[in-house]
């Protein structure tokens, strides 16, 4: 810990930072209003897959960066799961050293363009910003600035490749190319390891590609970040299912010394109510994978998707929002969210809910489906919902939904997307009987090192957390890289 504080202090005391702080009075900085992120027009954007948030223009980014007071004790960093040196990159933006800012981001964050778009900064770095905590004002738009720096670098063809240490010839295997695996691979590669990422699907990126829609995170951006990693020397192999195509023993025989498992929580949950297996009722995973990964909405691509005029999405999280907004873009007249609690309890990001409402999504809170009905071909055509009221909070703090007697009524639907959670992919736990698994099916790990009960196997991301965020997965990947690095170094010493 002390090393980090020392390092932060050292950076902060560099001449350019000192000069920059002096160049504007604190009051001038705090008097500025927080920048507004330009958004595409809701009634236009709800018919296409253009990014909703358009990104800050240069002058506004610089101006926003000036709001940052470059605190001696930067509490913003405390809120960041990967420990980005936030004041440094923000001040670099103010100083118009945008490429420098991007490099700073990449010191700790392998996917800055991704995080700048999908991180819930409002509960992370921006929640602990001095503005929020002490001044009770809008925080510095750290997320928007992160995105700005990463986009600037990419758009100007300056994508920097982080420096890597001399190769040490030690082979590391990463299972899963989602955010956890990518973050781990990135750090290991920086330290000179020979890293191979194995992916079961035919594209790399995991949930970044198949789960998050184009209008929030264009797949092209994910590819650019992965390209950087390839330039760092990371090998990527697709269509390999570890545990089936190759076993861990196969990999050990091939000389891999340690493993990071980031296979995710892709197993979709259903509600198990009558009629749920009728046609045109999908898990959000299936729906989004067809549209985002297989480009099903594009006729030039072979994979079909069925997305009708009256679409109901069950759930209230980010995945539900992604699904319902996708359905709208695919032509739904009515795109509805059916959520059994109220807006306050919805797990989705406030920004996503706001965007959804702007786009014409109907948010039906305090409703829960109880049964589905179908036509003679087995296609869903009606859904029976029951109204709910909220009772006492449960142990998570969310108020309990209680069905209201005799409140059932039918809604016409032709497509239903069930988005009520996911559970960990059971494949790897099933092939490793020595691996300790929790009651939720997640891999149990030491939270300090992310090491599992199998000594050369580390894990992170949704396979450990059950269903969390991109940035938490990345934090795990980084922590595991640390743990793996120590483990391998000791092993090599012994041998």
């Amino acid at each position: 810990m002390n090393n980090i504080n020392e390092y932060l202090k050292e950076e902060r005391n560099k001449e350019w930072r000192v000069e920059l702080r002096k160049s504007m009075k604190a009051k001038e900085r705090t008097d500025k209003m927080r920048v507004h992120m330009p958004e595409a027009d809701p009634m236009i954007r709800n018919k296409n897959s253009e990014e909703v948030n358009k990104g800050l223009v240069l002058q506004n980014a610089v101006s926003e960066a000036a709001r940052c007071l470059d605190c001696a004790k930067p509490t913003c960093i405390d809120g960041c799961p990967v420990g980005i040196n936030i004041p440094k990159f923000v001040k670099q933006i103010e100083a118009k050293d945008f490429n420098g800012a991007a490099s700073t981001l990449k010191e700790t964050n392998a996917l800055p363009a991704v995080c700048g778009r999908v991180c819930p900064q409002e509960i992370q770095c921006e929640a602990t910003c001095f503005y929020t905590v002490s001044l009770k004002k809008d925080p510095v738009a750290i997320g928007h600035l992160e995105r700005f720096a990463a986009d600037y670098e990419r758009n100007n063809g300056n994508t920097s490749v982080p420096v890597v240490d001399k190769p040490n010839g030690i082979k590391i295997a990463i299972v899963g190319s989602g955010p956890a695996g990518l973050a781990c691979a990135s750090d290991m590669a920086k330290w000179g390891y020979e890293v191979t990422v194995f992916e079961a699907l035919h594209e790399f990126g995991g949930v970044l590609k198949y789960g998050i829609p184009e209008f929030r995170l264009p797949n092209e951006i994910v590819d650019v970040e992965i390209d950087v990693m390839k330039k760092m020397g990371v090998k990527f192999r697709k269509n390999i299912i570890i545990g089936k195509t190759l076993t861990f023993d196969d990999l050990r025989e091939q000389g891999f010394k340690a493993f990071f498992v980031g296979s995710g929580a892709g197993n979709p949950s259903f509600m198990n109510i009558p009629g749920e297996n009728y046609n045109n009722i999908f898990s959000s995973n299936e729906y989004l994978t067809r549209v985002n990964l297989m480009n099903a909405a594009n006729d030039a691509f072979d994979t079909p998707v069925i997305s009708g005029k009256n679409v109901a999405v069950i759930g209230g999280g980010n995945t539900a929002m992604d699904s319902v907004r996708t359905a709208k873009r695919l032509g739904a007249d009515r795109a509805m969210i059916i959520y059994r609690r109220s807006v306050e309890e919805m797990p989705a990001r406030v920004e996503e809910i706001k965007h959804a409402i702007e786009e014409g999504i109907e948010i039906m809170t305090l409703h829960n489906p109880v049964e589905y009905f179908a036509d003679e071909k087995g296609r869903v055509n009606k859904m029976k919902v029951q109204k709910m009221e909220l009772g006492e909070p449960d142990s998570s703090g969310r108020r309990r939904p209680i069905p209201i007697e005799n409140s059932e009524f039918d809604i016409e639907v032709d497509t239903v997307i069930v988005s009520v959670g996911v559970s960990p992919n059971p494949l790897i736990p099933s092939v490793l009987p020595d691996l300790n698994i929790s009651r939720w099916g997640t891999i149990e790990v030491n939270p300090e090192t992310m090491q599992s009960s199998v000594e050369d196997l580390f894990a992170g991301g949704d396979i450990v957390r059950g269903g969390a965020t991109v940035i938490l997965a990345m934090g795990d990947g980084r922590l595991a890289a640390d743990g793996m690095h120590k483990y391998v170094s000791e092993k090599v010493k012994i041998n």
Binding site: I123, P347, S396, G421, S438, L472
Partner: protein, 332 residues
Amino acid sequence: MADLTTKYLGLTLRNPIIIASSGLTDSFEKITELERNGAGAVVLKSLFEEQIILEAEHNLKEAGRNRLIYAEFSETLDYIDVHIRDKELGKYLDIIKQVKKELTIPLIASVNCVSDIGWTGFAKQIEKAGADALELNIFIMPFGFDNNCDEIEQKYYKILRKVKQEINIPVAVKISPYFANLGKVILNLESEGANGVVLFNRFTSPDIDIENINVTIAEVLSSPFEMTNSLRWVAILANRLKIDIAATTGIHDGKAVIKQILAGASVVQVASSLYINGISHITEMLKYIESWMDKKGYNYIDQFKGKLSQEKHSHPDVYERLQFMRYFSKLK
């Protein structure tokens, strides 16, 4: 040779001893043992609405404590009670399916209801899984002192009605005796469609430990003296009801079984007695009944069932005597 074959809820049982919903009936293995030891039928340990809620709560607490599991804003955590209920119900249905597949003993599923909302979907799935009958164990806890009797009673009928609408297998209702107009309530249950009544539910009771000065639980197992209440009511109702009566609480030996049948019960449900004496006690009880029947010259249960029920008895008021009157006037 005495034939102990009995009919209950339209099902044919090899004898009138049913093992009540308890820790003795909560797994396929245990039910296999009970079948082997001669039980006439088994009531599968109740699926508790409350228990599912508690399990979900427990999971949420665990998730909250473990800082890695389920980020605050997780969709899975949001619907975890749905997933748990699903899993618990799934396990319950699995036991039913396995019993029906591999054993021949009649299986009565059991659900504990504490409210009249939300769970009735279980009944259909229980029927689909193959249960021979369903026992509804209803006790609506009167919250506070505001509800009036009628409102509470109506909830019982509502649950029964809802369940009867959903399924075709026989439904028995198990109740406590705590009603002002108990007789009428039971007659109402019959007219609302119950195929049988189970008299009576026995509650866990509080006790006080004066040494450690705290509240504990009173003796969990019943004692034979507790049989008298159901005995009285079985006798009073036996000829007024067309449906079957299952007597329960305090039936510990063959003698007690005979008493209840004489009063008019079709079957009895036992649990505590087996906890105390072991499962093989079933055989003892059956032997006793057989030998009594042989002694008295009865070949079939029907020949003595209800012989001493109130209407049949020459002095019916003997069951209604509540106060002791002249019996105890002097201390010995």
